[in-house]
Symmetry: C2
Subunit: 344 residues, 2 copies
DNA sequence: CAATGGAATGACAGCGCTGCCAGCCGGTCG
DNA sequence: CGACCGGCTGGCAGCGCTGTCATTCCATTG
C-alpha cells in the first residue's frame, strides 16, 4: 500500500549534510543540551535547507512517546471549542498535538475505551473538562497508568492530579455583591448541573454574600436548571409566575440566564427595569440577547494554555507529578453589561 | 526517558498464544481477506484474552500511515464543535482519529504549516470547513501531496476534491417561499461573509423565489452581515430605522437573525406580529432567543460522518479519487418555530 | 608533556509493526 | 502422475528515529 508521497527527508540526510551523525541531529531535535553551539547551528541550517520534518511515528515508536495530549470532554459545545483552540495554540509551540475525545460518562465501557487510548495512542497527558474532571473511573485509569492529568474546574479538590480553574465561589460572591449594591434584596438563583464542581461553588458564593449582608435566601427562589437553556425556562417560570417575585435572578450560566430573559419577556416584564438578570461564563449567547448579559468571564483560553503547559512542561520526564501538585486559579472578570439595574 | 507504563502487549505475544506468526495477526488487524475463518477466530480470541491494542506508532511507521484525518477550520465555534463530534464518532468505528487544525487563512505561512502536518503527522486525509474549503494555497498543497480531501460547503464546485454540503440555494428558496406564503412582500435579506460559498447560494435562493413570484427585491433591504451578530445589528438598524420598513427579514444565519431580534425589540416592534425574522443553520442561539427562530437545520453531524466516511473508505488505497469525484448533498430541514407570522 | 576527566559525538541495536516474497498445502488439469 | 494453481501462512528486512554505551575531543593539571 505504500505510495508516493513527497519523498520524505530523513534524519540521515540532514546528518549527512551537516556532517554529523544522525544521533546528534536527534539531540538537536530534542533540545538536548550536550551539543556544541556551532554544531547545533550547522544542523539547524541543514534542517532548514532540506525543509526536514521529523516523522512523528518514528519518534514515537523509538522513544515510546506520542506527542499527543487527550482532551476529554462529555459533549461538544462552545466551551469545548474555545478551550480546544487555546490548547492547540499552546501545543503548536512545542510540537505537541491535541486529540479531542468525547466520552459518554455514563457508559459502562469507558474503562476499556480509556485503555485503548492510552495503549494504542500512548497519550502523554490528559486534560479533563467538567464533568469528566471528576469521573472516578477515568481518573482511576489515568492514575493507574501514571499519565499526567490536569483537571479543569474539578469538584473535589483533594486529588493526585493538578487542576486549573477560576475561583467560582469568589466570582459568584462578587456578582451577588453587584446585585446587592444595586439595591436588590429579592434575589433568585438558578443552580447548574450537580455533577459540575462549579455548581456548588457558585451557589456557595451566592449564599456567602447574602449571609454576609444579612439578606435572606428564599428557598423557593433557588431552582435547578442543570446549565441548560430548556431547564432554565422552567426555573424562571416558577420564580416569575408567583405573586411575589424576585427583582433579580442570578443564573449560574449564561444559557440559563437567556432563558430567564425569554420567560420574563413573555410575562411582559421590561428588562432590566423590572427584573435584573445575570449569568456566568460570558458565553456567545451573552451578547446575542437583549439586554446583553452582565456576567462573569472565564479566561477559557488561558486555562487551556495553562493546562497544556503543565503537561508539556512535565514531559517527557518520568511520570508522576512533583510535589506539591499545582492547583492553578486564574483570574475571572466581572463584565457589566445592561441586564442589571436598580430594583423598581 | 523510557518508563514503566502498563507493560504493553505486543503482536508477537498474540501470535504466540494463537499459534500463528505475527504476520498473520497483522493480517487480521488490517482486515485482510486471506485468512482462514478458524485461524481468524483463534487470533481474535487471543487478542481479546490479552486485551491487546496495536501500537499506532508502530503501525504507522511500518505502513507509512497515520490513521489521522485533519479537520481544518478557521476558528472555533459551535459549528466546528458539532462537526467534530460527528467526525470523531465515525472515526471511532474504524480506528481512525481526528486532529483539529485551526488555520489563520490570511497568514502567509499556511503553506509551510500544511507541509508540517502532512509530513510530520502524515495525515491520511483532510476535511476542510468553510471558508477553508476554498483556500487556494491549502487546497494546492493538499492536491500536490495527493492527500484525500473533502471540502464542506465549498464555493467553487469544480475541483479535484469531493465535497459535502446541503443545497443552500434550494433551502433558502424554500425559506423565502415560506415568508411569501405567509403574505410578506417587503422582505429584507442579510448576506453572510463573502468568503463562504453558502453566502452566494443562499442569496441566489432568495432572489430565485422572489423573482419567480414576481416580488421585487429592494436593494436597500439587502445588507451584508458577514455571518456575525455584531454586523447583523447594523444591518437590522439600517433596515428598520427607515420610514418604510420590511415586514420580514431573512438573515442568512441564526446569529444575525438574533441581532435582528435585538434591534427590532429596541425599536419597540412586537415579534413576530410586526416583523417576521428567519435565520439559517439552527444554531444553539436559535432556541435561546424569544421568539425562537424559524430556520433551516443543517445535518451537521451527518455531514461530518459522510466526510469522514469518504476518507476512511478510500484509505489506505492509493491516493487520488476514483472518477467521478463524489459531491454529496444531504437533506436540510425547514424548522418552523415562532419568529414568523403573517404581515400586519 | 603525559595524564586526567568532563563534554561532545558516534555506533549500533531495536522500538512494534507491515511489505514483500517465498513456501506450504491440497485440488485440478492435461 | 507430474505440472500447475490458488488459498493460506511464515520469514525477514526495514520503516525513521532514540536509548545505551563506547569513543573521541580538548582543556586543564602536575
Amino acid at each position: 500500500m505504500k505510495d508516493h508521497r513527497p519523498p520524505s527527508v530523513t534524519i540521515e540526510q540532514v546528518a549527512e549534510l551537516a556532517e554529523v551523525s544522525s544521533k546528534t541531529v536527534s539531540r538537536v531535535l530534542n533540545h538536548e543540551p550536550a551539543v556544541r553551539e556551532d554544531t547545533r547551528n550547522r544542523i539547524l541550517k541543514a534542517i532548514e535547507k532540506l525543509d526536514y520534518r521529523p516523522n512523528l511515528n518514528a519518534r514515537g515508536l523509538a522513544g515510546d512517546r506520542s506527542f499527543l495530549i487527550g482532551l476529554f470532554c462529555e459533549k461538544p459545545g462552545d466551551y469545548l471549542s474555545e478551550f480546544q483552540a487555546g490548547a492547540v495554540q499552546r501545543c503548536r509551540e512545542s510540537d505537541f498535538h491535541i486529540m479531542v475525545e468525547p466520552w459518554d460518562g455514563g457508559s459502562p465501557d469507558v474503562g476499556r475505551q480509556v485503555n485503548t487510548l492510552l495503549r494504542q495512542l500512548r497519550l502523554e497527558g490528559a486534560i479533563l473538562l467538567p464533568p469528566i474532571s471528576d469521573h472516578p473511573v477515568i481518573l482511576a485509569k489515568l492514575a493507574e497508568s501514571a499519565i499526567p492529568t490536569v483537571r479543569i474546574a474539578p469538584k473535589n479538590e483533594p486529588a493526585d492530579a493538578p487542576s486549573v480553574g477560576i475561583d467560582d465561589r469568589t466570582a459568584a460572591r462578587r456578582m451577588t455583591a453587584h446585585l446587592l449594591d444595586l439595591g436588590h434584596r429579592a434575589i433568585g438563583f438558578i443552580l447548574g448541573r450537580a455533577e459540575h464542581g462549579a455548581t456548588e461553588q457558585r451557589y456557595l458564593g451566592f449564599t456567602d454574600e447574602m449571609r454576609a449582608r444579612g439578606v435572606p435566601v428564599k428557598p423557593q427562589w433557588v431552582q435547578t436548571g442543570n446549565f441548560v437553556f430548556n431547564d432554565g425556562l422552567g426555573c424562571a417560570e416558577r420564580m416569575l409566575s408567583g405573586a411575589h417575585r424576585p427583582t433579580a435572578i442570578f443564573a449560574s450560566n449564561d444559557d440559563m440566564a437567556a432563558a430567564v430573559i425569554c420567560v420574563a419577556r413573555q410575562h411582559g416584564l421590561e428588562l432590566p427595569r423590572q427584573l435584573s438578570v445575570v449569568g456566568f461564563d460570558d458565553a456567545p449567547v451573552a451578547t446575542m440577547v437583549w439586554p446583553q448579559l452582565t456576567t462573569i468571564r472565564q479566561p477559557v483560553r488561558a486555562m487551556a494554555r495553562t493546562a497544556a503547559e503543565l503537561i508539556i512542561q512535565h514531559s517527557p520526564r518520568r511520570r508522576g507529578w512533583p510535589r506539591p501538585i499545582p492547583h492553578r486559579l486564574l483570574n475571572f472578570e466581572l463584565i457589566l453589561r445592561n441586564s442589571t439595574a436598580p430594583p423598581p
